[in-house]
Structure formats: C-alpha cells, structure tokens
C-alpha cells in the first residue's frame, strides 16, 4: 500500500523541523513548502492527501493559500489543517472562512496534531 502524502508548509525552519519530527513517526511521505505561494504550486504538482499549513507566512498567507486551494478544481478536496498562533474566535473564523478543514494552535501538541492528521487522512 502506498504511503499517504502530507504537504507541510511553514516558513520557520524550527517549526518545520518540529512538525516533520512528529509526522515522521507515522508512515507518511512528507513534502515541504516554505510559503503560501509555494504551497499551492507543490499541492498542484504533488496532489498530497493532506496539507498542514502555517498561517503567517511571506508571499501568500496560509489563509490566502487555503482559499486558492479550495477554489481550484484539482485541489479543493485535499483536507487542509491550518496552524494558527491564536486559537481565538476571530482567527479560527478566518481559517474556516478560507475553507480549511481543521486547525491546531501553537505551540503544537504532538498528540493533538497526530490525531487530527490521522482523522483527516482517514477521511
């Protein structure tokens, strides 16, 4: 059985390293992007099974990239989990308005992240 592919998007090398370490414990193939613009390009090319994306990024924010991915016919069905700095109403609302399927807040809790990724990948 082929491994499920997860696209991890973050401009912070530390956060990217952290998330990669957590997800490496599961049988996923990881692909990376470093900003929202690159995320859209990689998603179109790689067709991941799930996208885990930071919100605050250069070139294109996580909200903008998510909105674009959900508008495109070829990527709209890919579940997107946003990593937000704030778990407050306004920020979460903006995330869901952009079309994201779920969100996790910083600092990332490994168990919570793995549970959400497993959940959304299982469909």
């Amino acid at each position: 059985m082929s491994k499920k592919k997860v696209l991890v998007v973050d401009d912070s090398p530390t956060a990217m390293f952290m998330v990669t370490m957590i997800l490496k414990r599961e049988p996923y193939e990881l692909v990376k992007a470093h900003d929202g613009q690159e995320a859209v390009e990689v998603a179109v090319l790689e067709r991941p099974d799930l996208i885990l994306m930071d919100v605050v990024m250069p070139r294109k924010t996580g909200f903008e990239a998510c909105r674009e991915l959900k508008q495109r016919e070829d990527t709209k069905s890919i579940p997107v989990i946003l990593v937000t700095t704030r778990g407050e109403g306004e920020n979460v609302e903006a995330g869901f308005e952009s079309g994201c399927n779920d969100y996790v807040t910083k600092p990332i809790n490994a168990q919570e992240l793995l549970a959400k990724v497993r959940d959304h990948i299982a469909g």
Binding site: S12, T14, M18, M21, R86, K106, A110, Q111
Partner: protein, 220 residues
C-alpha cells in the same frame, strides 16, 4: 425392588442431584467472582498501560522539542540564523508572541536588546545590569519565572514578563532572553518550558558566542 426401597433410592438420587446442583451453583458463583476479578484486573492494567503510553508519548514529544531546539541552535555558523532560531523557539515551542533577546555589554554593564518580536524595541533597548526583573535575573544568573497567582512583579513592559532566562557561558552571564506575554491558549509555564529554558540558557549562549566569533574571524 420393593416400593420402600424404590422410594429410598429416589430420595437418594434427589439428594445427590440437589447436592450436585448446590455444588455447581457454588462453582458458578466462584467462577463469576473470578471472572469479575480478572476483568477488573484487566481494566486496571489497560488503564495503567494507557496512562503509561500517554506518559511515554509526552516524554517523547518533550525530548523531540529539546532535540529540535538544540539541533537548530548548533546547526549554523550564521549569527543571524541563531538569533532567528531563538525567536522561533520562543514563538513555536514555548508559545509566546512577545520576547526580547539581550546581550551583555561588559563595558556599559548593561543588557542591550539585539532582537525582539511583539514588543516595541524602544521600551527596553538597554537594561542596566541589576535593574528591574530582567537586570536582576541576568545579574544573579537565575532563571526568573513569574508566579501566575501573584500580581505582576515588574513595572511597565516588565509588568507582563513571564520569564527571563539569563544566558551563561563558562559561568559568566552573556545576555538574557525575556519572554513577555504567552499566547492566549497557553495556560502557563510548564515543565517542558523550564527544560527548554535550561537548554536555552547554555546552548543559546554558546551558539551566539561561536557564531559571533566566526563572524569576527570571517571579517578579519
């Protein structure tokens, strides 16, 4: 067989059957108690296993955090990258949106702000050693963590100081990291944060020292 003998035989059989049924009921009861005991033991063991598993998972995550911090701090010879990494550790691993990184100016005996996020740099661009919570933490070399149950101990920007980590190298304080407000969803400083502070106290100091030295050598 005579009728009296037949009656005695039937009674004997009945008594035997009653005794057997009684023994059987006793055995069933004994087995029911045994099953209930075993079920309770299995439930307790499952609970203990789940709790131990969760504990190991947490330890695993905590170690991963410490590993990431250490790996990132020592993975470069670029001073700016070390500074960025310190900021990323505070933002992503500790969970703060306001922090400042200071380096000691031995000549002026003050802490000079070299990087910050979420705060106005003018508010704490220079802190005299021994002055205020940040200056005192740097002077004593002791990590300061605010007590959430008490009113703020500092004034102005220091009024929202959550922690101050003196950076030390070879027994000498070389700077400090001041962490102000935590992210709203972060309830407070946890055990892992304290371990991260301990790691930052020495590893951030070493990384800053090495990269600064490398930068000077490269220029020379």
């Amino acid at each position: 067989m005579k009728q009296s003998d037949h009656g005695a035989y039937v009674r004997k059989v009945q008594e035997g059957a009653q005794s057997f049924a009684h023994d059987l009921l006793g055995e069933i009861e004994r087995l029911q108690v045994l099953v209930a005991t075993l079920e309770a033991e299995i439930r307790a063991e499952t609970r203990a296993y789940s709790s131990r598993y969760a504990e190991i998972e947490l330890q695993n995550s905590n170690l991963a955090n410490l590993y990431v911090a250490s790996y990132r701090l020592h993975g470069t010879l670029d001073r700016q990258e070390v500074i960025d990494t310190i900021k990323e550790i505070i933002a992503n691993l500790v969970g703060s949106e306001e922090a400042g990184l200071f380096e000691l100016d031995p000549g002026k005996q003050s802490l000079e702000l070299v990087a910050s996020f979420g705060i106005s740099p003018e508010a704490c661009s220079s802190v005299p050693l021994g002055s205020g919570l940040i200056g005192r933490a740097a002077q004593t070399g002791e990590i300061y963590v605010a007590d959430p149950g008490r009113p703020p101990a500092g004034a102005g920007l220091e009024g929202r100081l959550t922690a101050c980590i003196p950076l030390s190298l070879d027994g000498r304080v070389t700077g400090a990291i001041a962490i102000f407000r935590l992210l709203p969803q972060k309830a407070g400083i946890e055990d892992l944060d304290r371990e991260l502070f301990g790691l930052l106290a020495t590893h951030a100091a070493t990384a800053l020292y090495c990269t600064t030295l490398h930068q000077r050598l490269a220029v020379a």
